[in-house]
């Protein structure tokens, strides 16, 4: 067989979304790859310019469908910077609670999809089963399982229901036991190690050159985690470690994510304890009228333009489960953000595909791309 290009995507089991990986192969060997994104572009950044600050939150949940809270938090941090609003401390703890549970949910989802790419069906269902418990928790205080619309500029929508913290602790205990099972099914299996060791290697220097962030970067030995290096919300008050590994291969990424799952449990135990001890308001006291809850509209067109609200720009960067996400919000004094711009970590991570795919087998594409943790919703936005 001579060389040929095959299109893996946009409808292909490997893609886990809607994008196209063009692969040039010779037999079973990969000679060249060419990722094509843009099939899921919905213009979220442009739509945001036509929405009130809080309404944009509904779009953020659709930005990344497995890590909606991380993106809500990202946008809300930038908006609060642009609008000069400080949320109460309890709201910040609640946001961290959302973030870390979301990280668990996202990483378990990644685990499920990743092992399924390797042909392991049962851990896929174990992962989905355990993620469901996290979604149950989300539903109990936001009212939805994926599109939460929970965070607001200046705080969060509502406080936790009674008994939430006990249920959260139960879930954390259950998850801690399940992590061991995950490891036994993957690391304990020689076939898994043979498939994943020394696969898809991307060294730290290449990661930096291509803007690759998140677990891929930490798996290459780079000790960088925005929660520690550029802290936001209440992360400085919390005690946790940054997971790193030095293999730079698929196994190392697996190890980093599994360690992050454990660290998230550790963070969440502290957060839940804090929330138990410190009741308080979850919305800022002083808000512009149109941001207040309940969410009231602007009665007469153009009314805000008559008034002088402070202008400003907001920038935030958040350690999303997939990597470092960044947001930039410009407030020109109107009821809508003037401009919203996001930096998607996965976009950078899959743009470097040529670096970590060429030279391996066709059968290696699913585990390597699986270890990148692709979420196309945020790539195309």
């Amino acid at each position: 067989m001579s060389e040929m290009w095959i299109n893996m995507g946009p409808q292909h089991p490997m893609t886990h979304g809607l994008w196209n990986l063009r692969v040039k192969i010779d037999g079973e060997m990969i000679l060249d790859v060419d990722p094509e994104m843009g099939y899921l572009h919905r213009g979220i950044e442009k739509i945001s310019e036509d929405r009130h600050y809080n309404e944009v939150v509904t779009l953020m949940d659709r930005c990344c469908y497995v890590a909606g809270f991380a993106w809500e938090h990202l946008y809300i941090l930038a908006s609060e910077g642009a609008l000069h609003i400080q949320p109460p401390e309890r709201a910040e703890y609640l946001r961290v609670l959302c973030d870390e549970f979301q990280r668990i949910g996202s990483h378990i989802m990644w685990y499920a999809a990743f092992v399924q790419d390797l042909g392991l069906m049962s851990p896929f269902l174990y992962g989905m089963r355990d993620r469901d418990l996290v979604l149950d928790l989300f539903q109990s205080y936001t009212g939805a399982r994926m599109t939460y619309e929970y965070m607001r500029v200046g705080g969060v929508r509502s406080d936790l229901p009674p008994g939430f913290t006990d249920r959260a602790r139960q879930v954390l205990d259950w998850l801690t036991q399940r992590y061991e099972e995950y490891d036994q099914l993957c690391l304990g299996s020689t076939i898994f190690r043979k498939r994943c060791d020394d696969l898809g290697t991307l060294k730290a220097a290449d990661c930096v050159a291509h803007g690759v962030t998140g677990p891929m970067l930490r798996a290459a030995g780079m000790k960088r985690d925005l929660r520690r290096d550029r802290p936001y919300a209440v992360y400085p008050q919390l005690d946790f470690d940054v997971a790193v590994a030095d293999g730079a291969d698929v196994t190392a990424r697996y190890l980093v994510r599994m360690e992050e799952l454990r660290q998230s449990v550790r963070i969440l135990r502290q957060v839940v304890d804090w929330l138990d001890r410190h009741p308080g308001p979850v919305m800022a006291e002083q808000l512009p009228r149109w941001l207040g809850a309940p969410y009231a509209p602007v009665g007469a067109e153009g009314y805000l333009l008559k008034r002088n609200f402070p202008k400003g720009v907001g920038f935030s960067s958040v350690e999303e489960p997939h990597g470092e996400a960044q947001a930039y919000v410009v407030n020109e004094g109107g009821e809508h953000p003037y401009r919203v711009k996001f930096r998607s970590p996965v976009f950078a991570n899959i743009s470097a595909a040529r670096q970590y795919l060429v030279g391996y087998h066709v059968a290696d594409i699913p585990p390597i791309m699986g270890s990148v943790d692709v979420c196309v919703g945020e790539v195309d936005r």
Partner: protein
């Protein structure tokens, strides 16, 4: 009294029917109806129909068994709504596939595209005419049933490759290539492992091999051969961890990507037919077929159809082992698969032949047990 086999039963049935009919109808039609040639021909047809029905029924039951087992392995329930515990679910699925439109890619080669699935199905079905399910099942006493079964079993890569190539799809072609390479690579260790069994049993006839195991099942003394045979069968059946030809993560659906509707159902059924044959071969060669250990009370073997019952029970348990493997292990890579085949399995199978020869010579091995001398 001649042993009661499935063929004699159908022969008796047909001949009594035709004789009654021929007596009622005046000659020459009556005489023609009573002619032995017609009776023989019709009873072969009836025999084949019963065999077909039994094998298809078992295949569909096997799919149900896998779905239920896999469900429990995956912390879910499996099929549960159509029929009792979902027993009829697969019939419903088959009916759905039957009603679907079959289509063909524009550039596909019609001849190969349509003959591939049919031939794959037929060669898998032929095997059931050969395999003895119990003492009263097999049709004829062929001396080389084992060899014949393995020969027919190894037709498959040819037809898979034909249908993959004629689909005019790159994924299908890659899947077909992988399938051919994998099946051919694993034919060799399978045959060598079988040679070990043949050495100990002293026969290529499956019935004889089973009767040789009346006292000692071969899995104990020939455990190395068993391991090689099971691993090889996993590869031949294209099941996880050796399901590379249809590795859905990278090759969509492998060599049957372009097939839909009933043609897909043909492939699906034939896959499970081959899985059934593989399990049956493991039972026949290593687990004593329809016999039970001597210490089992006689009541367990004396009820009607006891042989078939125990045989099918063993078969389904062996298939359960395959399902267990599927639930727990990831898929290997092409080069790793071939390396396992050529570098590990073939030396192991040669070792098993050596062990078998040793066993036949010295009769007893420490920790491995004893065998009776062939033909005793």
């Amino acid at each position: 009294m001649a042993p009661l086999t499935l063929y004699t039963v159908s022969n008796d049935l047909v001949s009594s029917l035709l004789t009654a009919l021929g007596n009622a109808i005046p000659n020459p039609v009556g005489a023609w109806l009573k002619s032995p040639d017609l009776i023989t021909g019709l009873s072969v047809l009836v025999f084949a129909a019963i065999l077909l029905a039994a094998s298809m029924l078992n295949t569909i039951l096997l799919i149900w068994w896998e779905r239920k087992l896999l469900g429990r392995f995956m912390d879910r329930r499996g099929a549960m709504h159509v029929g009792y515990a979902g027993l009829l679910q697969n019939f419903a699925d088959g009916l759905k596939l039957f009603r679907k439109n079959t289509f063909q890619p524009r550039e596909a080669d019609s001849l190969g595209f349509y003959t591939g699935p049919a031939a794959y199905m037929v060669t898998s079905l032929i095997l059931f005419g050969i395999l003895p399910i119990s003492s009263g099942w097999n049709s004829g006493a062929l001396p080389l049933t084992l060899l014949l079964a393995l020969a027919i079993f190894s037709f498959a890569p040819l037809f898979i490759f034909i249908s993959a190539w004629s689909s005019n799809n790159k994924y299908s072609l890659m899947g077909g290539m992988r399938s051919a390479a994998q099946m051919i690579a694993y034919e060799v260790p399978i045959l060598l492992a079988v040679v070990a069994v043949v050495i100990v049993a002293g026969s290529f006839d499956l019935t004889t091999i089973v009767y040789e195991q009346q006292n000692y099942w071969f899995w104990g003394p020939l455990v190395v051969a068993l391991i090689v045979f099971v691993a090889g069968m996993l590869a031949e059946m294209e099941r996880i961890p050796f399901d590379l030809p249809e590795a859905e993560a990278e090759l969509v659906e492998g060599w049957n990507t372009e097939y839909g509707g009933m043609l897909f159902a043909f492939f699906m059924l034939a896959d499970y037919l081959r899985a059934l044959v593989g399990s049956i071969l493991v039972v026949l060669l290593f687990l004593g077929g329809w016999t039970l250990p001597t210490w089992v009370p006689a009541a367990a073997t004396s009820f009607p159809l006891a042989g078939i019952f125990w045989f099918m029970l063993k078969t389904y348990l062996v298939f359960g082992l395959f399902v267990w493997v599927r639930a727990a292990l990831p898929r290997v890579r092409t080069d790793q698969l071939l390396r396992i085949g050529w570098n590990r399995m073939i030396p192991l199978s040669l070792l098993s032949i050596f062990l078998a020869a040793l066993l036949v010579t010295v009769k007893c091995l420490p920790f491995l047990g004893c065998v009776p001398s062939p033909g005793s």
